[in-house]
Point group: C2
Chain length 227, copies 2
Amino acid sequence: MITSDLGDEGALSPTERSTVRRHPDRAQADRRALDAVLDSGLLAHIGFVDESGQPFVIPVAYARDGDRLLVHGSTGSRLLRHLATGAAACVTVTHIDGVVVARSAFNSSMNYRSALVFGSFHRLEGHEAATAVDVITNHLIPGRVSEVRANTKKELAATMVLALDLTEASVKVRAGGPSDEPEDLEAPVWAGVVPTRLTASKAEPGDSRAALLPIPESVRTLIAKLS
Amino acid sequence: MITSDLGDEGALSPTERSTVRRHPDRAQADRRALDAVLDSGLLAHIGFVDESGQPFVIPVAYARDGDRLLVHGSTGSRLLRHLATGAAACVTVTHIDGVVVARSAFNSSMNYRSALVFGSFHRLEGHEAATAVDVITNHLIPGRVSEVRANTKKELAATMVLALDLTEASVKVRAGGPSDEPEDLEAPVWAGVVPTRLTASKAEPGDSRAALLPIPESVRTLIAKLS
C-alpha cells in the first residue's frame, strides 16, 4: 500500500542524527511504525534555526503523502519562507499515550510514540501544490475535500506548500506499565498506567445555518477517529 | 500567587524572536496566559541545534516552577548534556483544542494554545535539584511525591535537572469557530468546530499487587484533570 525506498524491510535509515541513543530498546526501525505515528497525528512540531543560530519550534498542521511529509500555510509565513530556502529542519510528531505511575517517583514515566523526521523541505508549485493542499485538508478532516468547493486560484496563490522526503527518520515508543525496582514491589503503593488520548466527542455548529444541516460524513469520520 | 518580574502587567518581553508575526491577533502578551498553557500540559517539545547546525526537536516531560521551566532526565542523555552547556533552546508546549471545519478548505484550521519559551537552561545541583525533581513528579502526577518513598541518593545522582527562566516567551491562541468568506455562507455546507482534548478515563493497575490497592489520590486527581 505504502511504497518505500528505504530498503528491503522498509527500514529507517540509521544515520548519525536519526540514531536513538537513550533507551535504544524504544527505537523502532520500521517504516510502517513511522507511517503509523504520522498518520494518526494532527499537529507536528517543526524545528529550524534562524540566522543567529537560535532554534525555533513551531506547531503546524501536516499530512503524510506516501514517502513525503507536507505542510502548508500563508506565503507570508516566516516559518514557511525560511523552510522553503532548504534550511535544515526536524519535524517531530508525538502522541501522549499515558502517564506511567511507578511505586517510586524515579521510575514514573510517560508512554508515548514519537517520530522525528530530518531533512530539508522543498516548495511544491502548480498542480502538485494544489493536490498537496487537498491531501492536508483530507488528513485533518477525512474526506472533506469532496464536500466543499475547490480552492480558488487566489487562495492557492496565497498558500505555500512544502514537502519533506521521509528518507531519514527515527521512531521511539514507550508502552506498557511501570518498571519498578525489585525492592519497591513489596511496598503497599499502587502502580500502573493512566492511558491518555486526544479525543473528540461532538461537533459544534458554527452558526445557525450550520445548525440546520446534518453533521457531514467527514466530521463524523474525524470524531470516530478520535473517539 | 505567581510572581512575575516581567513588568507591571506581567507582560511577556516583546523581543525580536518572541514577537508573533503571523496572526498577531492570536498573540497573548500576558504572563498568566503563559502559565496557563504550561501548567496544563504534560509534554514539551525542546528544540536545540547540534554542532553541525542541525535542529532537533525532542519531546520531554517538564514542569513550571514559578518563574522557570524545569526538565530532567538521565545524566547520560545527549539532549540534557547539550542543553546543560547553555546552548540556545526553544521550548514549545502546544494544546490541540479543536479542528475548525469551515465551508471552504482554505478557511479550515485548528484551534490551539501554544507557548514558546526561548533561552538557555542551567543545571541545578544538590537540594535544589532534588526539590525540582519533586516539582516535576507532582506536575505529572499531582501530589504523587507524598505517596511514594523519597528518591535515593543514587537515583538523584543519575538524574540531571535543568532550569530555564521564563523571561522571554510568546503565547499564541486560536479559538472559536470558522471565519468563512461572505460568499460561502449561503452554501448548504456544514461548518463548525470539533473540540479536541487530551483525556484520561481510567487507571490500569500494573500488576496483581496494585490491583488489590485502591487508586491513590494522585492518580484520581490526574484523571479528574484530564476528564
